[in-house]
């Protein structure tokens, strides 16, 4: 038990297609992308157990997480594609809990070496939050966001990476073409 000591109180369950019809209190937020259906289908059909929804006691959507597993050999890892929380359910540690869930899936269902995520270099709030969750900057990816902004590739080692080799920071920035997956 990873001391989930905050007030998330939620029902965690797999994200269903029906949720797409009522997730607007989360997705109308300007920082949450509403993707084409194909995007959700792509994840559902390849990593069916990597999408989770958090639902409140009165069945309001609170937040959700979407991830995937990829990479070869020691680069086999879980990736955080989206983690988002509705405005009214912020400040109760829900993002923390969803991230933990994703780490659990990466570890227990996929046996990965680490978890990674990409974040805009200017998004200091998110970066601070990921630091708090135990993520460190592995490398900077130049002009990752439509050639306009750098991304930080942040990682957290899972138990399988005993020596924590996966998170040793690279000395130099890379370009999007250098990313392995």
């Amino acid at each position: 038990n990873k001391s989930r000591g905050r007030g998330t109180m939620t029902s965690l369950r797999r994200f269903r297609c029906d949720d797409l019809f009522k997730y607007n209190n989360i997705n109308l937020d300007p920082f949450t992308e509403t993707f084409q259906l194909n995007f959700y289908f792509h994840y559902m059909s390849q990593w069916p157990d990597f999408l989770f929804m958090a639902e409140s006691p009165d069945k309001r959507p609170m937040g959700y997480v979407i991830g995937k597993a990829e990479g070869k050999d020691e680069l086999w890892h879980g990736h955080v594609t989206a983690v988002t929380v509705a405005p009214e359910y912020r400040r109760i540690g829900l993002a923390d809990r969803l991230m933990h869930l994703l780490e659990d899936i990466s570890e227990q269902s996929y046996n990965g070496y680490f978890v990674d995520l990409f974040v805009r270099q200017s998004n200091s709030i998110a970066i601070g939050m990921y630091h708090k969750f135990g993520y460190t900057v592995y490398r900077t990816v130049l002009d990752y966001y439509s050639g306009e902004e750098n991304a930080l590739d942040m990682r957290k080692a899972l138990p399988r990476d005993k020596l924590k080799k996966s998170i040793i920071p690279l000395k130099h920035p890379v370009t999007a073409a250098d990313i392995e997956w």
Binding site: T8, T10, F35, L37, Q46, R120, I125
Partner: protein, 968 residues
């Protein structure tokens, strides 16, 4: 082989996104030696270049060839190209031929299976996979499993537990499990789902009793939840309790399902003292343990337990005290109101108890000294008070309510201005680009604004005075300036503007919310109906994107179902298939298809009948005939069973209202009660019944059928044609007419009647809307020729008269929907009267105050120097339009001065306030940029108080634009 090598550069060019280059290579090679495969690749290149018709012709030409021209490579490539062009049927045909050429080829068999899946042809898919299961002795995939899944897809989602196909599939799964072919949770989950649908939890438990099987669900909390739930289902309470406890203590101390299940089991066992005690011990442990004391679960669980415990006349003391404690602990969280709501509503059962609870909370917030925290607690308290119905006439006087609304807004503004200032300083102090302009976090106290808005809207309903609506809009606009990322502000504005008929601002907001993809199905209803009524040109982009989204959807869902088979994501097959069905039967989609036909008829009709001296209306005949013959019958199918099968996919929960039990949904009443928006048409999901929606769509489709029949079956004479045209453009094309007729019809049938006046007023408005629509359409850049305003006005007047004639004519026809409004005749007369009265009033009042309109850009200076009118006079102007500036008088003079100056500088909008001179005014002036933008830009730097006043002025101007268009 040589050929294959020579194709490599072509593939590379295609894969590299260079279809032009590929086409060049292909053309060169074909000159030397033509080959089928080259033709197919040429088709692919052409398709990528956008010449799909040409590409399709090439493919069709090749696909009719016979072996050896059609070798496997050609077939496979053709299959791919057809697939990319969305021609699933042809793609399947190629796959069928490829497999029939060589049935031993298992890959070809699998590809054919996917092809059937992509086409959604379940019968053939099943037939084929059965063959496969017999044909391949050492199969690459489990075809029996695929067969079971294919059968399962054919079971209706509401099938009874005894449905024979459910029984059949469960037997198949049983066999798969028995033979050790249930390899992972994806198969297990489908099996469990089947048993759930068959109502066989016992059987599910039996399967999971093998730990090998249970451990296929890899996440412990998910596994425990599944098991605990099943034990609860078979009434093994103690076992279920044990598992729930384990889930809470070992994995997730905040998992609500576990608390809920645990407490339900205790209840089922009859609240044995020992059970309750053990749970309480667990809860108290969590509540006091440092690691878990911030969890909400253990505290809310205590309330839940208390809530369902049998009480022996001890009143609600205990639970009230628990709820108060909960507020102490979590009142600063945005979700506090949602957590407590069900318990408050259940246990605070008198008005007095509710008032007392609300008062106590307010007392508590006063004790919080930290200002930010205080505002957070205060916000929760106000939300709760609203939910409890305390902001209503039975608890507060009008004056007190208005003063509360004022306080709420001021509290937010004071805090928000401070926060915005701080954020700006922070940004400026940090290195450039390292802090984003807007971090997207909701400002503290934002929800207070929404409560204030709801109070004002309540006042509006009670007094029917529109000033409250304008005030609400002003407050929201101001708040949006301070917090541009708050989508609740935008949603509320969107609704209000749409209902006021200010579609430009509404559609701007709609755009700024980035509503896209599936949201087009769940959210567009907020603006679409009003846009269709008031301003079809603004509705058009929305309906176009809706159609685009739906067109994509069907192909994508079916492709994904095929992908689920190929990636063994079996648990998602049913889920995605259901989504497809839900989207296919979407009411929004169906009505959009229908409305698009009307658009096509109006927007692209080569003549506009209301414009005098137009060419012979006979020109229109071929156009409509073509439209009619190109229309698929299901788009105008008006049969009840078809329409009733449609689904409402609207998301009605997205707008925060914290609506008290005593109130009807606020957005319904915006339509139903307020005179400004008495058109019952915009209710949609916010209150219109499905029955009404069915009637409305039915009438719309009947109208189309009527028009099409008139054009196709008979060849109408010129004057008849003109009548029909008028009827399309003026009345029938306006959805609201059908809508109000639809509502009337339902009311007739159900015996539920609105007051006659309301209906009459609706109809009057619809005539206005007809006129507006004609104006808007003619004002479109690509619409019919732009006319001068005098001509236009003459046309509108004539339109009214023509409409009278039309109505008479329609009444004479039997069996037409128009007969539903017998009073139409006299109503049109009312319109005419109203038009004249209003025009004079507006003119008289405004004349003295408007600076001379500059005739060119050079006139700017002179206009700017014009003396602003005195404040008191301006007040009078505003009052004349029913708007009072509550509490803002000191700003008015300054602001209006600014408005007049800035408007004069930019000149166009003011023409609306200017003395009306038909000789010098053109319809172009109606198309000028929004007044709002202009004012907003000119005064973006002013203080918030002024902006607030400005927004009110802007609303007045907006109302003027509308009034001008309607009455002018």
């Amino acid at each position: 082989q040589d050929m294959a090598a020579r194709l490599v550069p072509i593939y590379e060019a295609l894969d590299g996104g260079q279809p032009k280059q590929a086409l060049k290579l292909i053309t060169n090679m074909m000159k030397k030696k033509p080959a089928s495969i080259l033709t197919v690749l040429k088709a692919l290149a052409l398709h990528r270049l956008g010449s799909t018709d040409e590409a399709l012709a090439l493919c069709d030409q090749i696909s009719s060839a016979q072996p050896p021209e059609m070798d496997e490579t050609v077939l496979r490539t053709l299959n791919l190209v057809y697939k990319q062009m969305g021609k699933n049927e042809q793609a399947t045909n190629m796959a069928e031929r490829a497999w029939e050429n060589d049935q031993r080829n298992e890959e070809a068999a699998i590809q054919l299976f996917y092809s059937y899946a992509r086409e959604g042809n379940l019968a053939k898919q099943q037939q084929h996979v059965m063959k496969m299961s017999k044909l391949y002795l050492r199969p690459r995939e489990d075809y029996v499993l695929w067969a079971a899944l294919t059968i399962l897809l054919q079971v209706p989602s509401d099938a009874p537990p005894t449905h024979p196909m459910l029984g059949l599939t469960s037997k198949m799964f049983e066999k798969i499990a028995a033979e050790g072919r249930m390899k992972d949770s994806e198969i297990l989950l489908v099996y469990l789902d089947i048993l759930e649908r068959m109502n066989k939890p016992q059987e599910a438990l039996r399967i999971l009793s093998s730990s090998d099987v249970a451990n296929m669900i890899k996440l412990p909390f998910e596994r425990l939840k599944t098991l605990a739930h099943l034990h609860e289902r078979v009434e093994q309470w103690d076992e279920a309790i044990k598992l729930y406890r384990q889930l809470l203590t070992d994995h997730e101390p905040d998992e609500w399902d576990a608390y809920k299940g645990y407490i339900a089991c205790i209840q089922k066992k009859g609240f044995l003292a020992q059970d309750v005690e053990e749970l309480m011990k667990l809860l108290k442990g969590f509540q006091t343990d440092q690691k878990t004391c911030l969890c909400r679960g253990p505290f809310l669980a205590e309330i839940e337990l208390e809530s369902i415990k049998p009480r022996e006349g001890e009143g609600n003391q205990a639970i009230v005290s628990l709820m108060l404690q909960y507020f102490d602990r979590f009142g600063a969280k945005g979700c506090c109101v949602y957590d407590l709501k069900p318990y408050m509503l259940r246990h605070l059962d008198t008005d007095q108890a509710r008032a007392q609870f609300g008062e106590t909370l307010l007392e508590k917030t006063r004790g919080v000294s930290d200002s930010e925290k205080n505002l957070r607690y205060y916000t929760s308290c106000i939300q709760i008070q609203r939910v409890l119905g305390m902001h209503t006439a039975s608890h507060m006087t009008d004056a007190a309510l208005l003063s509360l609304a004022n306080d709420l807004v001021n509290k937010f503004i004071a805090s928000a201005e401070e926060a915005v200032k701080k954020a700006k300083q922070h940004r400026e102090a940090a290195p450039k680009g390292s802090v984003a302009e807007d971090d997207g976090e909701r400002l503290v106290g934002s929800d207070l604004v929404l409560v204030a808005v709801h109070i004002l809207l309540e006042m509006h309903f009670k007094s029917t005075s529109e000033q409250y609506v304008y005030q609400a809009i002003a407050i929201l606009e101001l708040s949006l300036v301070l917090s541009p990322s708050n989508f609740q502000f935008k949603l509320h504005l969107l609704v209000l503007y749409a209902r006021l008929g200010h579609i430009r601002r509404a559609s701007d907001l709609f755009q700024s919310l980035s509503i896209r993809n599936i949201q087009l199905d769940t959210l567009s209803h907020i603006v679409l109906d009003d846009a269709l009524r008031y301003s079809p040109p603004h509705a058009r982009p929305i309906t176009d994107t809706i159609l685009h989204f739906h067109k994509q959807n069907v192909d994508q869902t079916l492709e994904s179902v095929a992908q689920c088979f190929s990636h063994h994501a079996y648990s998602r097959i049913e889920d995605i298939s259901r989504l497809k069905k839900r989207l296919q039967s979407s009411h929004t989609y169906a009505s959009t298809l229908t409305e698009t036909l009307f658009f096509n008829m109006i927007l692209y009709a080569p003549t506009a009948p209301l414009i005098p001296d137009e060419p012979d209306p006979n020109d229109l005949l071929p156009f409509i005939k073509q439209l009619a013959s190109n229309t698929k019958t299901d788009v105008i199918d008006a049969k009840y069973d078809v329409l009733r099968a449609l689904q409402l996919n609207e998301d009605v929960e997205s707008i925060d209202t914290w609506q008290p039990e005593t109130e009807q949904p606020i957005l319904t009443r915006l339509i139903a009660e307020a005179p400004m928006c008495q058109c019952t048409t915009s209710v949609r999901a916010y209150g219109r019944t499905k029955e009404e929606q069915v009637e409305i769509l039915r009438l719309r489709r009947l109208t189309l059928q009527f028009v099409f029949d008139a054009f196709i079956a008979s060849s109408p004479k010129a004057d008849e044609l003109r009548d029909i045209l008028l009827c399309i453009n003026d009345v029938l094309a306006i959805p609201s007419v059908s809508a109000s007729m639809g509502v009337l019809k339902v009311e007739e049938q159900t015996g539920r009647t609105q007051s006659f006046d309301a209906i009459r007023w609706n109809t009057v408005r619809h005539v206005f809307e007809a006129i507006i629509t004609v104006l808007e359409l003619c004002a479109e850049p690509n619409g019919p020729a732009v006319q001068t305003l005098p001509g236009k006005l003459a046309a509108v007047h004539k339109g009214c008269e023509d409409m009278l004639g039309l109505i008479k004519g329609m009444l004479a026809q039997k069996d037409h929907a128009f007969i539903a409004i017998p009073a139409f005749f006299s109503l049109v007369a009312e319109v005419m009267f109203y038009v004249h009265a209003m025009m004079k009033k507006a003119h008289d009042i405004l004349c003295p105050y408007v600076p001379a309109q500059p005739s060119s850009r050079k006139g700017k200076k002179a206009a700017a120097a014009a003396k602003p009118p005195p404040a008191s006079e301006l007040q009078k102007v505003l009052a004349a339009f029913g708007v009072q500036m509550v509490g803002l008088s000191e700003s008015i003079s300054l602001v209006l001065n600014g408005v007049l100056t800035s408007c004069t500088v930019s000149s166009p909008p003011l023409v609306l306030l200017a003395p009306f001179d038909p000789a010098q005014t053109s319809i172009d002036h109606l198309k000028q940029p929004r007044v709002a933008t202009l004012i907003g830009d000119a005064l973006s730097q002013t203080q918030t108080g002024h902006v607030l006043a400005l927004q009110q002025v802007r609303l007045v101007l907006t109302a003027r634009i509308l009034a001008f268009k309607v009455f002018g």
